[in-house]
Subunit: 204 residues, 2 copies
Amino acid sequence: MQKKISEKVINRLTLYHCILTDYIAKNIEYISSKQLATLLKVDDSQVRKDISVLNNSGKSNVGYIVKELKVSIEKTLGFAKNKKAFIIGAGNLGSALAKYDNFQDYGLNILALFDNDKSKIGGMVNSKPILDIKKLENLARKSNVDIAILTVPRVYAQSTADYLVKSDIKYIWNFTPAVLDVPSDVQVWNENIMGNFLQFTYNI
Amino acid sequence: MQKKISEKVINRLTLYHCILTDYIAKNIEYISSKQLATLLKVDDSQVRKDISVLNNSGKSNVGYIVKELKVSIEKTLGFAKNKKAFIIGAGNLGSALAKYDNFQDYGLNILALFDNDKSKIGGMVNSKPILDIKKLENLARKSNVDIAILTVPRVYAQSTADYLVKSDIKYIWNFTPAVLDVPSDVQVWNENIMGNFLQFTYNI
């Protein structure tokens, strides 16, 4: 059975993964828990504990084998399970997310963006089409997409969420500052940017 | 002395704040812990416990007084302490953040964006000027800005961070997928978008 991994550990593992990706680009073969700890300003023992949740065998006297550790993280966090998603709203934020090339590396496949602005519909962002929001319901069912990344203006957030629910979307990754009211079988993940900022600055 | 509030509580308090803002816009005067709990799909008792960390007196038989609860959250989380920041990178993500009107409500004052792209320099986003990145060092000192919101492409993340450190920036809110290597007196807050997504989708 799969061990339950806490949110904080998942978060740190993805940061280790970023560092490992950089090391591979620089052709560095080994990395120590101390190097990872220094970059993330966490404790050495914390890094070793996090890595112990992986089935990682790539350990040598000079540290972890970068390539093997990267693969271990990918396997454990399920990067291989490809997930399809739509971006709702082709404004600055939606476009920024569509351009975020890392998504693909992590198994997140953005199929299209949706908007109601006629001047945007028919365009492309990072080779992904911008489609008329009215087509979403049909396309979600046909392409079996149940994840929507919501980036519309706050005032349209709830009405758009209602439409997504009607279209059988089951997971909404909410980048708007609105708190959405959805049925219990729909999960909302709030990307609470201001909440994060306030955590960050609480003590400064 | 101020009680230490955990990150999770801070995060939920900002979500309550979003809901209260909506209620005020709809002229609703009272809200119960049950209503807040239902919207956020958390436990009723959790909401009451969170609110107990505030010095909130606005409680009646029909629930919390929306306006007073909002002010209590703002006081506790220090929205009133105005913080000045620069956005580094005037691409889609930097522009989206510059347009995020909520920042101002939460005491975050974005003074300007910086870029090295001559076609962008001199422009405006949401009434904020886009300036030449070379001017940052001087302006940061003159305007006493020590927070930078980093939205440059991944390949420029470390070199830009080095320049920010040299310019006496002490807090970097890092929206790039790079892990930054900075001196110990500089704090980096990683807005780890992929980490958040993986937490969200870990069990689906």
